[in-house]
Symmetry: D2
Subunit: 302 residues, 4 copies
């Protein structure tokens, strides 16, 4: 079943808020997200700043101990301009780095959908005219966390959140732990483009059209967000420091290999150690994100 949903309220936390839509396992949702500053497709500010979320979507049958599978069928900008902060966060640089830029104006990007490129509109000096390909992604999405928490969309955790991983792109399937009845799925913070780490604190922030299909995996328990695309399976660890994020992502991948690919602990260790690829997600937030990837071609049966 397909639901066309036009959101009217947005949350700046991921939590057990009143559901705005109820869907069944297997249903598809056609919806939109507003940008990180609350601006919509028309450039009107209709939500709070700070990664306001569409949702939560209540998925029937989901409960604590299940996994929510979310296939992102489409993520695409629904307007032709986005903004970006041009300053690298101080904690990304050496303490006392004298080149630390203390103030900087936001830049506007124009998107040209024919050429598939986004270009800085004005901007000082060598910043003018910088062009990148349009490669849309969702920076922040997740299920309501445990214990009735409502957690700022500025950060992330086992439930997902602001992971800012460019691999959460059209066609990806995400898997999220379910902590509460209905899972309560939230989504937002679209980027037309983003490099590793989101070290500027933004990608090209933009509102999106999103089509996604949800499925409840009953009794399937996972510890951290996972994902899958044509080439890779991957896990996301969300914590500080980056070392700890890497630990969560790596242990979660070992759990996956043992539970679903028929490997024992030693076999999983060896396969992961011989083939792991790490991608840096968010390196800006209170929690950082490390991605642990394995090519499907190296998996048993792959």
């Amino acid at each position: 079943m397909e639901h066309r949903f036009s959101p009217t309220t947005y949350h700046a936390t991921i939590g057990s808020h009143e559901p705005v839509l109820t869907v069944g396992s297997g249903d598809t949702v056609v919806t939109t997200t507003i940008d990180a500053g609350g601006w919509d497709a028309n450039g009107d500010q209709i939500g709070p700043r700070g990664n306001p979320q569409t949702g939560p979507i209540f998925v029937e049958g989901a409960e604590l101990g299940d996994t929510l599978k979310v296939k992102f069928d489409r993520i695409w900008p629904n307007r032709d301009h986005g903004f970006c902060s041009p300053r690298i966060a101080p904690h990304v640089l050496e303490p006392g780095d004298p080149s630390n830029v203390t103030e900087a104006e936001r830049l506007q990007f124009r998107l040209d959908f024919e050429s598939g490129a986004a270009t800085v509109d004005g901007g000082p000096g060598a910043m003018a005219g910088l062009t990148v390909p349009i490669q849309p992604m969702l920076g922040c999405f997740g299920t309501a966390p445990a214990r009735g928490q409502a957690i700022s969309t500025a950060t992330s955790g086992p439930y997902g959140g602001n992971m800012d991983y460019k691999g959460f792109a059209p066609g990806v399937t995400a898997y999220l732990p379910v902590f509460v009845e209905g899972a309560l799925f939230h989504l937002g913070d679209g980027h037309a483009w983003q490099a590793d780490g989101e070290i500027l604190g933004t990608g090209i922030e933009i509102s999106m059209d999103v089509v996604l299909t949800v499925e409840v995996l009953k009794g399937k328990e996972i510890g951290w967000p996972r994902g899958e695309n044509d080439e890779y399976i991957f896990t996301a660890g969300n914590a500080r420091p980056l070392d700890q994020a890497t630990q969560h992502a790596s242990s979660e991948m070992l759990r996956w290999l043992q539970a679903d690919y028929g490997l024992d602990a030693a076999e999983a260790d060896f396969l992961l150690g011989m083939h792991v690829e790490y991608d840096v997600g968010n390196f800006f937030d209170p929690a950082f994100t490390m991605i642990c990837k394995l090519a499907k071609s190296v998996l048993p049966g792959g």
Copy 2:
């Protein structure tokens, strides 16, 4: 000028040891390295365990404040077998991860140079027969560190060392700070293959034939190892935690962009923030390695 050098002594530290060879800026050295356990091309153990190094090579004219440029023209296994530890280091996993493998036997790989593949020779269960492509690299090289130090080849720092980055592959050019007269270049720890992080504590450890060309960049001062291949320029930060390694790599890249690409601090910030790619080097040693990369195509004039 080309020097053919057959080493007879090996060091398990990088330091101000007696030079074994003196070369001029611009000279090429044709030499060999033994593997991480001290075994040579014939499978004889002729050096100490723990990444024994060929060298140091004294490069005439190099002194404190210069940069040593090292082009790796060739890095290729000089025997057809290598070894690998199959166990992920405990610190890579969540504290208390119950799947932590506490003991494991080393595995042997056979290399088939025709097919370009390395395959596990025996091994228990699903480990048997695992095959990876031969993609040689040097795990450990560097210049003698400052202050008369001699530092274990188990770790790394501003002078290089055990960075275990798979991008230090044939064709790459490395740049290293010079701290002492003659630079005193060391090299070793060849891997026929290694995934990100060297989280097993080894790649496929093997002895190598190496051809390299050195050049002294007078008065060129850098803070951390740098590299360049056909597609990328990159910097290496070596520290714990990974966050700090990332800070060093990122600040070093900003310094590079400002010194050599005509950007001011704000322009460098924006360019890096929009295009940075991070690769995880060593995540096993006392110091971890993070690589900060920029595609040459996005550089000014690129």
Copy 3:
């Protein structure tokens, strides 16, 4: 004005929950807390596990940008037994530490108020009979965090939370940032005794009688929890890793010295550097706590 308040509901998050009591600035509240497991003075479990909180208390006149001053006039166990976990958390020890204790039964302590001592009741081997002085403290308290968040009482942040610092003892005055109207003060997680770090994950967990006096400091803006007793002023940084917690605590102390003690940045640096004492609060939670202290005797005018 004094309010005698007997709580009937408890929250396992600190957030913008419905106030259970409204008080004026300057008022005193005489109340109780239940223990970390939800057990009350009678040993009945009447609240959720995980540091259930009394409150929130709405303090009239408090709003974003103010500071809530809370003087803890009395914190004293209201029953004669408490429990303790005897196992050090794995992340407190070296990765792979072979002495890591994987399972352990909770221990019960008996409190003797005449002698002022708490003693293990039974317990295996050398654990039997371990005795510590009764030194009560509150492990977890705070104001509702920003952005409508509700955050688990298992962790901490700028709003306070589960800091587990033994200096939050009878007679201390705490200062907390106010993020929402009424401040919404929560308190719980009493310990009859606790060592540094709460590395067992518990102190001696017990229900408490608490008397506290609140005051709104209008227009006084602080960044992190602060405290004051007869001898010291101190700040609390709550984050991972401990390094970052130390950064927050240290910067917050510099802000305090500059705002209230008439020092410029350089003078504050020197005074802090010459006299700082660090105490380790919680080293168990998702966020760790570092305390930065200065003796009042070394303060200007001290």
Copy 4:
């Protein structure tokens, strides 16, 4: 046997340098150290900057796997002035802290041995006249590290080094692992006073008279520096981040409790968890130092 030793050479690394003195187990050495900048009792610069070390002292009979016990009978300034940097290191503060002091002149302290106080001699603004008690300690000492390494006295490790812990004061007994024949003991970097963390990068730097007695504990193997005074036993973990330093110190204390105090792993966990006190040593160097302490009164038989 007592050796009166006047050093003439100093090392800026701790390593397997030529011994300057050979002593037997049980012997006492009466010697001096110069200050962190290389200045001696007369205020003459006779050694290199950066914590130049007296030594190494070869202790007969010591070899890999033993422990070197060093009782510091006396540590006392041998001149009446010392210097101090007044600026907190940037990494101690929040990234981007606007109060970060970027430049600052060294301050001179005058020592008055009658009153037992050290006072700033001049200095700007509120810094003038700051007075602290004379509480001498040694910031840096250690045995030659493993593998023939020579490591800068700016950092620390399992062998000791620049730990800057104010508990290494007159009367303390230190225990250090022995990695090489003769142990090769080094010492230097005296401070007339220092607060926690040495966050200024200096204490009051001064030259010292030192009397120490060494003893070889044959076959006694330890992993990290340990210490003992009248009230406490303690261990030192030296690493970044502070979390890891804490892990080493905590695990080393558990090993101590099990090896020497007759506790099993579970008993050691509980005793440490109930009584641990952490002190912050160096929080300035490439490696930080965390101290894990237990009061002797709580030890079995204590």
